[in-house]
């Protein structure tokens, strides 16, 4: 029997029509949602696929117990040694220790609680997040107001900065050159590490996520050695690209990407950084992870070791002597070590008083679930999980931190209102701190057998690698600290003074020598080249300089006078890179990224840049709707009225509108670690040639004279000796 349904009369009725429209819309939505991921991948070039890791292996019962004994060995030994310390006979003591260490209660009673949990649950293989989520589907989060909230663990992680690398919401301490706080009003755009090009890495997350580089440490005629490189090494996702989906409205993360999250790098006390190297599979390049049971069985809340797996890279630097993670470069395709360090203020018990005191990162950066505060201040355009949670010295040290109660301490406490703790207590940075990095002229690194950007100046010295500025907690869109002398005069103007010049004679002498030997320049050529960074404004046309002054007057001065400013130390930085001159403003132009393999292997910086901007996502930036979706707004913050969609490669494949430049002003990075017990002393600042340039800091000539010739200084200096 055949049933025939005639829809025509139904559709003629009003309710029929409405039903038809609803069904139609639902159908379009459904098809759209099904097709969206594939469309997105086609459009951006971002790839997704199921991720597998060779380190994830199933253990036998014996292997499990053996691993348990191994990772608890030191703990058990220490305990047994303590108990048997009164035993005089060495052999008897060793027998006792052996017996004690192998009693069941010793085996059970360890800081690694998960050994027993896994034993009971029969978990013998670590399969990634799915293993963790078997028990931790939800978690309790202690919020700042004292309340406790139950959240979905996975979504808590996925919506944290450590996964997202960006944020499409307010909470930035960054202000554009149009006077507007980033994302504070209007339609927010996705900003953060994910899309913020930077001169230190010379690339950005899409163009330099995970790559393998051929290097020739044994000579170019010998077989190449593969090395790993890319931003992805410090990301908790394991995919082929950063979490680009999060930049879209809605931001649905594919299931396979979620399965790539590396829980253990933050939680395991036995995470082996030798597993962090780039692997190539059928789909592309991605970062490997340690998914061994040994790592999984030793999970705890994150300790310093976990945070420093990644963060010592930007604090002490890769070449820092006590960077533990940089000692395990990989079982194969070893990670590339970066010579110049970003901040040069390490957090280690050797170089930081808090680390030496056994403090944990999370003691100051008190987390709420997987959201970790970075403090309310910041000059860089980095997303912040908890933008209102303070991470300040004052939280513990109060406003009267010097407690010996001598007259000197009282006066030092008096300084706290104007001088940040870091200003005195970070007297210098690691000498590997890079101040001037030239990406355009690479040099051959014989030891590693590859071309590297040339650091023509590295310094951790005051007034060379460190500069001192008024800071109210906010920064410009190009990472310049904002603030003003509390006298609120217009004398202080770092964007026209401190941040556009480099004039330490000793440093300049060193730089000139470096240039002449590295680039084979004559003295005259070197002088010409040096002008571009000893006076960065020389790169701007007179018209642009006028515009710059205008913008500072109309928008920046107001912002600099906000809040309470103190003098803070900042790491200075500048980079020589190719720029898209179609998108130039008075504070700089769009810097263009480099493709790492091309750069490191050939040393051809121009070709390397061209390769990087051929990346689909860079192309999309120059097209509709990406331009309207975010690039125009991005450019407004940059101080440019609109994003020019002239793609720097023309239809014939030639580059256009590209010039190499230094940033029009030095970038300033906050430095907060590497804190020393003994800070600078009075005369370091209060003398005619002190490290603080009081005149440039906006003090009146009379006040400068007072500050550099303090009447009572003798009392303090003579008392010290």
């Amino acid at each position: 029997m055949k049933m025939k349904i005639n829809l025509k009369p139904f559709l003629k009725k009003w309710y029929g029509k409405i039903t038809a429209v609803i069904v139609g819309l639902a159908l379009i939505l459904f098809v759209g949602m099904m097709a969206m991921p594939s469309f997105f991948e086609w459009y951006t070039g971002v790839k997704n696929a199921p991720l597998t890791y060779n380190s994830s292996k199933k253990l036998t019962d014996e292997q499990f117990e053996e691993t348990a004994r191994k990772i608890t060995y030191n703990e058990r030994l220490e305990k047994a040694e303590e108990i048997t310390k009164d035993e005089k006979n060495d052999f008897t003591r060793s027998v006792k220790i052996q017996m004690l260490m192998n009693t069941p209660s010793f085996m059970r009673d360890t800081k690694f609680k998960h050994i027993e949990y896994f034993r009971k649950a029969g978990i013998k293989q670590y399969k990634g997040p799915e293993t963790c989520l078997e028990c931790h589907k939800t978690m309790k989060v202690h919020e700042a107001d004292g309340s406790i909230k139950k959240v979905n663990t996975l979504s808590d992680v996925i919506n944290s900065v450590h996964f997202e690398f960006q944020r499409m919401a307010p909470g930035f301490s960054t202000y554009g050159f149009n006077g507007k706080q980033v994302n504070a009003k209007g339609r927010p755009i996705p900003v953060g590490k994910i899309d913020r090009a930077c001169g230190i890495p010379g690339s950005f997350s899409w163009t330099g996520w995970a790559v393998l580089v051929k290097t020739y440490p044994n000579g170019k005629d010998k077989p190449a050695v593969m090395r790993s490189e890319g931003c992805g090494q410090c990301h908790i996702g394991g995919s082929y690209d950063p979490a680009t989906e999060k930049m879209m409205p809605g931001g649905v993360i594919p299931a396979e990407t979620k399965e790539g999250i590396d829980c253990l790098i933050c939680h395991s006390q036995n995470y082996d950084m030798n597993y962090k190297y780039v692997i190539k599979d059928k789909v592309g390049y991605r970062w490997n992870q340690d998914r061994t049971m040994e790592a999984a069985m030793s999970v705890t809340i994150p300790t310093n070791k976990n945070c420093l797996n990644c963060h010592q890279h930007n604090m002490g630097g890769d070449v820092y002597q006590y960077n533990v993670a940089a000692k395990s470069l990989g079982y194969k395709n070893q990670r590339i070590i970066h010579g110049g360090s970003k901040r040069g203020n390490p957090f280690s018990s050797e170089d930081d008083v808090h680390a030496a005191a056994g403090l944990q990162c999370l003691d100051c950066h008190v987390p709420e679930g997987h959201k970790i505060p970075r403090g309310v201040k910041g000059t860089d355009l980095v997303a912040n999980d908890l933008p209102n949670r303070k991470v300040d010295c004052e939280n513990c040290h109060t406003s009267a931190p010097h407690t010996k109660n001598k007259l000197e301490d009282v006066i030092l406490n008096g300084h706290v209102n104007r001088i940040a703790c870091e200003t005195c207590h970070i007297p210098s940075l690691q000498s590997s701190s890079v101040v001037l990095r030239d990406w355009v002229h690479p040099t051959w690194d014989k030891e590693d057998g590859m071309y590297v950007p040339t650091d023509i100046l590295r310094s951790g010295k005051p007034d060379v690698g460190i500069t001192y500025l008024w800071f109210n907690g906010n920064g410009t869109f190009l990472a310049n600290a904002m603030g003003n002398n509390p006298n609120h005069t217009d004398k202080y103007n770092p964007l026209m003074n401190q941040l556009v010049t480099l004039n330490d004679p000793e440093a300049l002498k060193e730089v000139k020598q470096n240039i002449m030997s590295d680039f084979g320049m004559t003295s005259q050529q070197a002088d010409n080249y040096m002008k571009t960074f000893t006076n960065t404004l020389s790169q701007l046309s007179p018209k642009m300089i006028e515009k710059r002054k205008e913008v500072i007057k109309t928008f920046i001065v107001k912002l600099e006078n906000m809040g309470q400013s103190k003098i803070y130390p900042f790491k200075l930085f500048n980079a020589y890179m190719y720029e898209d001159m179609s998108n130039q403003g008075p504070f700089g132009a769009m810097i263009l990224p480099f493709d790492y393999p091309t750069y490191y292997e050939t040393g051809n910086s121009l070709a390397s840049m061209k390769k990087a901007i051929e990346n689909p996502i860079v192309k999309r930036m120059y097209q509709f709707p990406f331009k309207e979706y975010m690039m125009d707004d991005f450019m407004h913050y940059f101080g440019v009225s609109t994003w020019s969609d002239v793609y720097p490669i023309d239809s014939k494949g030639n580059l256009r509108n590209i010039e190499p430049h230094w940033m029009r002003q030095y970038g300033t990075l906050m430095i907060n670690h590497g804190i020393k017990k003994d800070g600078l002393s009075c005369e370091n600042c209060h003398s005619p040639n002190g490290i603080l340039d009081f005149a440039k800091l906006g003090y009146s000539p009379q006040r400068v004279k007072d500050l550099t010739h303090l009447k009572d200084l003798k009392y303090f200096t003579s008392n010290k000796k």
Partner: protein, 309 residues
Amino acid sequence: MKFLITALSLFILVSVKPAAKQNSLSTKDENQNCLRCHSMATLSYRDTTTGIIKSLAVSPKEFYNSNHKDLACIDCHSKDFQTFPHNAKLKNENLYCLNCHKDEPKFKQFHFQSIEKEFKQSVHYKKLGNKFTCFDCHDPHSFEIHARVSKDIKETVLYDNMICLNCHENNSKIKYLSGVILPSLTTSHSWLPHMDLHWKSVRCIDCHTSPNAPGVSHIILPKDKAVKNCVECHSRNSLLLQTLYKFESKQSRNKEGFLNAVILNNSYVIGATRNYYLNLLSFIIFGLTLIALSVHGILRTIAKKRKLK
């Protein structure tokens, strides 16, 4: 004649002003030497026995807005403070408000002697004795009379309440002074409906002092004697007229005149000024209602008569 008076007063103004200015300038110069260090807002140390931060700072901005702005530091403090480093003996310098404020006739209106007596009856003095001084509440470097001159009651409330909260929101200070830890203010006031609103609108001392004082009452009462009965304020003879609105009600009576002060004074809401326009509005509404009712009545009577016809 009028012109003469104006000219004369102008002359006086002109001739007096520069003299006053000169005087304050020289005081300022004199003070500058001290303020070189003491204007540092965080000039302070931690008390070695209690751990409490003791501030040695004087805010020039606050000082030169305070009632003591015309004084030089050494008018009150020992002249020996002019040498640096200061002699250790000076630590024990003992200053007392009444040293200056006792006999001068121009201070009479503030009833300082009465305040001294009241203070001796206050719970602070009774419990803590000489450990508690005027300076624990009133910082002479920033002190301003407020209730008498302020146009904005809320500002007065905030200023005065901060004096109490400086200690009462800071348990370490209270513990240092009294050795006990008091329950938090929100706990001890949990019985009070609309707690936050009350705190913004009335001063702590409005409930916690005995109002029988010629000036601002300094008889801080023990907890169990504080006002706890709503009707004491929310009534015709609101207690607040003797306390918070004491000075304002005098002023407003002068300003708003007889009608507001006498006829309406004891009517509906608390607050001495009793918003004049609200009064007027309620009269208008009342009047209009009356008129409407009578018009309605008249019309109905007329209509009924017509129907009957």
